[in-house]
């Protein structure tokens, strides 16, 4: 049975193909269109999935869209009505936006793919999140918690999933919090207030939080109230996202926290305003963590299950995830590599397969590498045409050479095998560097990633060695498999792991099993032999504002435009003939 899952039209659209109950491939549209966070109908992703599988659209048994468009329209219209007459500016925009395309998904999918409308199915947004986390996790029975900005109406839901002895699978969502009360929107409101882009820069708030103290927790708590049934509600006087698209916080919010940050002025943490913004970030981070932990604790008491599957965009918050694991009572916490909306494409397809069609459970490979693959020969060809130094080595020699490069302080662009599905570079499209000196972090921020100085970098370590360098709570190795948790770096190693140790002494670790990325694992071993520490700095292979590279040509152009010293794709290693060709030379 061939089932295609699609997510689109909010942010980060994607397609995923499930064949006979097993994910065959999945890719985000942005990786192919090269538009970061591309929310357009994922035609390129769909075409690639079908081509990769050698299928024509009519071979699809079902195409599943990741949410119910009319239910979402119902929410948008209802919110406009509730906000009358303040929503008069938003209403025409919202209607044009929704009625122009978004509500006609059955027809659009049917016409774009040339399949009958009856093959098009719809899951609910949080069902898709739930399926994406539960059906890909190596567990047979787990509690489920999903949280994001908003789906149709739900913003947070809890439930449970179970694989029965007869192979049937069940996912039941039990309760939900509805828009406009939303943890995701609360965090996004602070993201906007702190001058970052909503739905894209939430992780910057998390990074900034490390520099602050949670001195404004009481103020944040004025905006979010716990309800007697264990849920929560927001005091909507502090927000405007439910009435207007112009901004998400109200004047009352500004009265409480002071003037918002100007997005065009860099944050200077030495100034009073910079410290205030950092404290603000620390405070919302604290409240988000507290609320999630309390909800998870109550879910644990209710279900008495050892495993929790967490999904939705909020599950990208590694600091909160680590707290849930440590404080909620669950023994294991599963967060998929793509917990956000892109992952819903896979979740929707798996939900249809297991729940709607009732197909039996199948083991799913526990890795994120579902995208297009690279060919090192392509890199050799274009680099030779441009006169750069090209080596094509066998694997052993290549690993040794790259380990030498890294040990001598070179920065390496690393492309290997199939592209990751999800926002994290987990070893197939990564920029790697030595993790020891703070200067490496600064160089990466300044010359390669072109981003704010307060942003931390993540480490990757062999799973067997992770405990030695990081204080992992029980279950931490699993949570760090896809870089989903933030853990303290052991104090005795912080001085030798400066580039990956955040200001608060933590790091967003990826603990790597050999089977998941064997070449990167070998590289870690080889690097460990040279330096005594088998840990590398691992950051996504992209420049600021661009999607992670997919093909060799994209890695190559990123290599040329940045301070990356060495580029590796497959068996090919390229070093620059010189720095990027000087403009005068090119113009001559």
């Amino acid at each position: 049975m061939n089932i295609l899952g699609i997510s689109a039209h909010y942010h980060d659209s994607a397609a995923a193909l499930v064949i006979d109950g097993i994910p065959f491939c999945a890719v985000q549209e942005e990786r192919l269109s090269r538009h970061k966070g591309d929310a357009a109908f994922p035609l390129l992703a769909i075409e690639w999935c079908l081509e990769h599988a050698g299928l024509e659209p009519d071979a699809l048994d079902a195409v599943v869209f990741y949410e119910r468009p009319m239910l979402k329209f119902d929410r948008i219209l209802t919110c406009a009505l509730r906000a009358f007459p303040h929503s008069w500016r938003t209403f025409p925009k919202a209607m044009k936006n929704t009625l122009g395309e978004k509500v006609w998904m059955r027809g659009i999918i049917s016409s774009r793919l040339g399949i009958p409308g009856k093959k098009v199915l719809f899951t609910e947004h949080h069902q898709s999140h739930a399926a994406a986390t539960f059906l890909t996790a190596p567990t047979s029975c787990a509690a489920i918690l999903t949280a994001d900005g908003v789906g149709e109406w739900a913003t947070l839901s809890i439930g449970r999933g179970e694989q029965n002895a007869n192979g049937a699978t069940e996912i039941s969502l039990l309760r939900e919090i509805r828009f406009p009360h939303s943890l995701g929107m609360l965090y996004s409101t602070f993201t906007a207030y702190l001058g970052f882009r909503v739905n894209e820069d939430e992780y910057k708030v998390m990074g900034l939080a490390g520099y602050g103290r949670p001195t404004m927790v009481d103020k944040v708590r004025q905006m979010i109230h716990r309800t007697s049934d264990g849920g929560f509600s927001l005091d909507l006087d502090y927000f405007e996202y439910h009435t207007t698209a112009r901004r998400s916080y109200s004047e009352r919010f500004i009265d409480l926290f002071g003037p918002p940050r100007d997005p065009y002025t860099p944050i200077d943490l030495k100034t009073a305003d910079g410290a205030r913004f950092a404290d603000c970030a620390a405070s919302i981070q604290q409240v988000l963590g507290d609320t999630l932990v309390e909800i998870a604790q109550s879910l644990h008491q209710e279900t008495a299950l050892p495993d929790l599957c967490l999904g939705g965009g909020v599950a990208l918050n590694g600091v909160a995830n680590a707290r849930i694991l440590a404080e909620s009572g669950f023994e294991r916490l599963f967060v998929p590599p793509a917990p956000g909306d892109a992952g819903c494409a896979l979740g929707a397809a798996l939900y249809a397969d297991r729940i709607y069609f009732g197909n039996p459970h199948r083991e799913i490979a526990d890795h994120p590498f579902w995208g297009p693959s690279i060919d090192g020969n392509d890199l050799a060809r274009i680099a030779q045409e441009d006169g750069h130094l090209v080596d094509q080595l066998d694997d052993r020699l290549l690993i040794d050479q790259i380990a030498d490069d890294l040990a001598s302080g070179r920065i390496v662009g690393w492309m290997d095998g199939a592209l990751e599905f999800g926002p994290r570079a987990l070893g197939h499209r990564s920029i790697l560097a030595a993790p020891h000196a703070i200067e490496t972090r600064d160089q990466l921020n300044r010359e390669i990633k072109f981003r704010e100085e307060f942003r931390p970098f993540a480490p990757v370590a062999p799973i067997e060695a992770a405990d030695k360098y990081f204080e992992l709570t029980p279950g931490g190795k699993r949570l760090s498999r896809f870089m989903s948790g933030v853990f303290p770096v052991r104090p005795e190693w912080r001085s030798r792991l400066q580039a990956i140790t955040h200001i608060d002494g933590t790091a967003r670790l990826q603990s790597l099993e050999r089977v998941m990325a064997p070449r990167l694992y070998s590289l870690l071993e080889a690097y460990g032999q040279r330096t005594g520490i088998p840990v590398l700095l691992n950051t996504s292979f992209n420049l600021a504002g661009e999607p992670i590279v997919n093909r060799v040509a994209e890695g190559y152009s990123t290599f040329l435009r940045s301070g990356i010293d060495v580029l590796v794709a497959g068996q090919t290693r390229v070093t620059k003939r010189s720095s990027v060709r000087r403009k005068e030379e090119a113009r001559a």
Binding site: R68, L81, R82, W88, V103, F122, G230, R587
Partner: protein, 254 residues
Amino acid sequence: MRSGRLYARATTFDRLLKPVHSWIWGNVERRVQKLLRFSEIEIDGGRDILRAAELTSDPVLRRLYLEHAIDEFRHGLMFRQRAGSVLRELPLRSNRMFQLDWPAPGGHGLDDLQIEKESDGSLLAFLHLSEKAAASRFTIYRDVMQHDPPTRAIFAEILNDERFHMNYTLTHLVRVAPERHRRHLWRARLSRLWKGYLRLATALASAIGTLILTIQYFTVLPPFAWFAKRAARRESPGWFPVSSERNGSLRRQY
């Protein structure tokens, strides 16, 4: 044709519009909006040209496109930084900066270029005309920005780059399509006209749509709004149970 032969010069049409441009750039808020819009366009354009660099099989064009893309990204950053500086100079921030659906200005980014479907010849022709149009417009902008030397300096610097872009695109268009470069240029001109019409038509349709929907909002919606508000008041905050039915059928869209 050789590079260095073309110079940035304002077209008659742009010169006629000079008073309009003076009026637009004279207001600080409008200036910030324009600078931010230009920043987006340059970055969009840079992304498209970078894509061209990644896709072309011509090594010379690959290097030139890459340089061109880097220039565009730099221009985007310059515009953005300048907008930030102007914003900081404002004594009181206005929240009412106009955000209507104006026709998007012509530029490579917003012309919805599908790089994958373009040949090197057609892309070079398109880029040449875009750069030429931008150079013409930027010449006027530079001239009307007497009251704002830093912004004027940005336009002057970008104009230098635009001249280089105009020249290399034409030189290499002649190289890659010696017999057909004029045809490529004419097709690119027609395509720009068509896209200009589409932008205008879309903006007009959007404005009409906004007007009709706003009228409906105030005439049709009030009674429904009353019911919706009443229903909202009756809703208790906290958890909502999820009925088991909702875990079932995938056929419905609601």
